[in-house]
């Protein structure tokens, strides 16, 4: 169960990074 919750957490984190555009280096540089 812990592993499943960790997997879900990681998936949410990764999806959130992708959706927000934080995997786009140009966007991160623009943010800074």
């Amino acid at each position: 169960m812990r592993a499943l919750l960790a997997l879900i957490s990681g998936a949410l984190f990764g999806a959130g990074l992708h959706v927000s555009g934080m995997t786009d280096t140009a966007r991160v540089r623009g943010f800074l």
């Binding site: 592993a3 997997l7 957490s9 990681g10 998936a11 949410l12 984190f13 990764g14 959130g16 992708h18």
Partner: protein, 139 residues
């Protein structure tokens, strides 16, 4: 009207929820540098849980890209620069005893003074570095 900010908001909410799921579900702070560091040097408490987290973290954006949600990620082809950058991030997060997810997302949401201080410090340092590199090297 430009609506790209919506994606930032939704993504941020997802990241915040991810931190809550890990903390409430396993009792662990979602500090990526600490989780990865614990796996690398063998000091991590629950390697199976950490590995599952990393599978989700890395696999989900890869799967989203494969399903058509493309992100324009421009990564340098200069290997030495990638290695140098990775070392700088790794050493920096060890010095700070955390990173953006640990201090920024989890620490600040828990109203941790150390979280606020660390986040201000590394965002400030990052902004200064980008500004200096743009002014000095045109990067």
């Amino acid at each position: 009207m430009e609506l790209s900010w919506i994606y930032g908001l939704i993504g941020g909410l997802m990241i915040g929820c991810a931190g809550a799921v890990l903390l409430l579900g396993t009792g662990r702070i979602m500090g990526a540098s600490g989780l990865v560091g614990g796996l690398v040097d063998g000091t991590g408490r629950d390697r199976g849980t950490t590995a599952a987290f990393l599978v989700g973290l890395i696999g989900t954006p890869a799967m989203m890209t494969g399903l058509g949600w493309q992100v324009d990620t421009q990564v340098t082809t200069q290997l030495w620069l990638l290695i140098l950058g990775g070392l700088a991030v790794g050493i920096g997060t060890r010095f700070a005893n955390g990173c953006t997810s640990g201090h920024g997302v989890c620490g600040m949401s828990r109203l941790s003074v150390r979280g606020f201080a660390a986040t201000l410090a590394y965002i400030g340092a990052g902004a200064l570095t980008v500004t200096a590199l743009r002014a000095g090297l045109g990067l």
